[in-house]
Symmetry: C2
Subunit: 314 residues, 2 copies
C-alpha cells in the first residue's frame, strides 16, 4: 500500500477517508484536521488559556500533545478518582507524559477531598459509580478551570464517543440531551466554555497517532465502565461503519450541520438554571449535585472554603 | 413460564413488553394492539375500502388476516415481479391463503405488462433491482387502488422495518426522507392514503401470530434483497434491542410523538409535485419514473390506455 500524498510506504489505511498514508503524512493529516475543526467551529484561539481534562488514556494525552504542538496555551487537569490500581497507573502515565513534554499538570484527589474513592461515595449515595463520577468530574473541571483563570475546557471525546452518544440520544428521542450535544458549549456566568476538538476523529486514528508518536497511555478502561450502554451503541455503529466506512463521520457532521432543529427547548433549559445555596455554582435545584454529595459526606463547608487547596500542581 | 393474563401455560415470551402469554391471550394482545394503532393514529375505519399489498410473506398475509378478522373491508393486491421460482411460490402462498379465508385477491403481472421481469428491466435501465422494483410496486399499488375505488392502501411494514428505516434516515440526517416516514401518509389528488398498521409490532410477534394461526407463508426473502443496507441497520438495532428489550418500540414511538420537528421541508416537497406528461399521475419531473421505464420498454401507450386490463382478479 502506498501513501496517497508522497507515494512512499503507507503505515495506516483510513477506510473512512478512503486513503492510506505514511507516518509523516498521517501526522500532517491528523493535525490539520484537528486544526480545521478548531477553526471551523470557532472552538478557541492562541489567546485562550485552555484546560485539558486528562485521564491518562490515548484521547486526552494526545489532545494535550497536539494542542501544545499546534502552539496553543494549555495545561492538564487530572482527577484522581481513588479507583485503586487503575487510578494509580493512569496518574503515572500522566506524570510521565507531562514531564517528558515539559507541560503543566494539576491534580485533584477525590480521596483527599471526600475521604474515600468514587466506588465508596457511590455506595453511600446509593447511585451508580458512573453518575457520581460524572458529577464530580464536571464540577471539579469547571470550578478549577474558572478559579485558576482558564477560559476554555477541552476534553478528548472522539468521534466514536460522540456518535455513540448521539445515537443513544436519538434512539430515546431525548430532545433535552440532544440540545447539549455540541462540539462547543458556550461559557456563561459560572460555567466555563466547553469544547471537544476530537469530535470528528476516530478512536482508531487517535490510537495510531499516540503509538506512532511514542505517547505511552493506559490501555485499560475504567473497571466500572464494563457493560455501559454506550458500549452497545458503539458496537451497533461499528457494524454499520464496517459495512459503509465513513458513516460515523457523516452522522456527526450531519448533526453538527442540521442539529439546530433540536434546539427548541433551549430557552426552557436556560430558564431553569440558578445558583447553588452552598457553593454559588450553577444548579437546577436548590443545592448542586456536588454539594449534595459533599453534604452527605460532611464536606459541605470544605467545598466553600478550601476547594482550591485540594488541587496540587505538578 | 405462565401466561400473565390467565396463569395457563405460556406459549410466547415478549421481552419487549416484559410479558409471557398463552396462545389465546397472545392473539387477543396482538389484535388489540393492531386495533389500538388503527384507532390512535386514525389510520382508517369500517367505512373505508382498504387495499392490502400482499407478497406472500408473513407480514402482509397476517395483515390481511387480522384486518379481515377485525371486520374491515379489505382486498389483497399481489404484484408478480417475474423473479423466477420466488415469484411463483409467493403467488401460490397468496392464492392458497385467499381461497382458505374466502378473500379477494388482485394480481398484476410485471412480465405481462413489460415483457420481462424486474431483473431484466433493471438491467435495461442500468439501475439496481430494488429501486426498479420499488418504483413499479408503488405505482401499481397507487394507481390500481385509486382506479378500482379503494381509498386506503395498507402495507405490512413492521417495527423492525420501520425502526431500521428510521435509523438509516437519522444516521444520514436525510430530512426529506424523515418527513415521509409516517405511519399514515394522507391521500391527495392522484395519491392514495397510505398506512402501516404493523408499525409498532415486531417481526417476531408477526411470525408467531402467523404460525399459531396456521397461516402458511413464504419464508424465503427476495433473492435480490441480500446485502441490502437495511439489513445492516436491522442487525445494529438488534444488538441494542438484545441488551435493552423494548428499544425499537420506544425509538419508533418517540419518533411518532416528536418527529414533527423534522417537518420543516414539507412545503417545499409539496410544491415540487406535478403531473406526469404521459399518465397524469404524480411526479417530480416531466414524466414519472414508471412511465420512463415503460417508455424505454416501448410500453408507454399501454400505461395510458390499458393499465387496468393487466390486473387479474382471483
Amino acid at each position: 500500500m502506498k501513501c496517497k500524498i508522497c507515494n512512499g510506504v503507507a503505515q495506516i489505511e483510513l477506510r473512512n477517508h478512503n486513503i492510506a498514508l505514511c507516518k509523516n503524512d498521517f501526522f500532517n493529516f491528523f493535525e490539520r484536521r484537528v486544526s480545521q475543526t478548531i477553526t471551523r467551529y470557532k472552538l478557541f484561539d492562541k489567546k485562550d488559556r485552555i484546560l485539558i481534562a486528562v485521564s491518562g488514556g490515548k484521547d486526552s494525552l494526545s489532545l494535550l500533545y497536539v494542542l501544545n504542538k499546534l502552539g496553543f496555551n494549555c495545561s492538564g487537569l487530572y482527577i484522581h478518582l481513588g479507583i485503586g490500581e487503575y487510578s494509580e497507573m493512569s496518574l503515572k502515565k500522566c506524570e510521565a507524559f507531562v514531564s517528558k513534554y515539559n507541560l503543566e499538570l494539576n491534580v485533584f484527589y477525590v480521596t483527599r477531598f471526600f475521604g474515600c474513592g468514587i466506588y465508596e461515595i457511590a455506595k453511600k449515595m446509593k447511585r451508580n459509580s458512573c453518575s457520581i463520577c460524572g458529577i464530580i468530574k464536571r464540577y471539579v473541571m469547571n470550578r478549577f478551570g474558572l478559579e485558576a483563570g482558564f477560559n476554555v475546557l477541552a476534553t478528548g471525546h472522539n468521534l466514536d464517543d460522540e456518535s455513540a452518544q448521539l445515537f443513544g440520544s436519538l434512539i430515546s428521542f431525548d430532545l433535552v440531551r440532544l440540545e447539549k450535544e455540541k462540539i462547543l458549549l458556550p461559557g456563561k456566568e459560572k460555567a466555563l466554555k466547553k469544547v471537544k476538538p476530537f469530535s470528528l476523529i476516530t478512536e482508531r486514528e487517535i490510537a495510531a497517532y499516540c503509538i506512532m508518536n511514542g505517547i505511552d497511555y493506559i490501555y485499560e478502561e475504567c473497571p466500572y465502565s464494563k457493560g455501559a450502554t454506550s458500549l452497545v451503541y458503539k458496537s451497533a455503529l461499528n457494524l454499520v461503519e464496517e459495512r459503509s466506512p465513513g458513516t460515523k463521520l457523516r452522522f456527526l457532521k450531519g448533526f453538527l450541520e442540521k442539529g439546530h432543529i433540536f434546539k427548541k427547548n433551549e430557552q426552557s433549559l436556560e430558564d431553569e438554571s440558578k445558583y447553588c445555596s452552598n457553593c454559588r455554582y450553577l444548579t437546577y435545584r436548590d443545592m448542586c449535585n456536588f454539594c449534595i454529595i459533599a453534604d452527605r459526606l460532611s464536606r459541605k463547608d470544605e467545598v466553600r472554603v478550601n476547594f482550591l487547596n485540594y488541587i496540587e500542581k505538578l
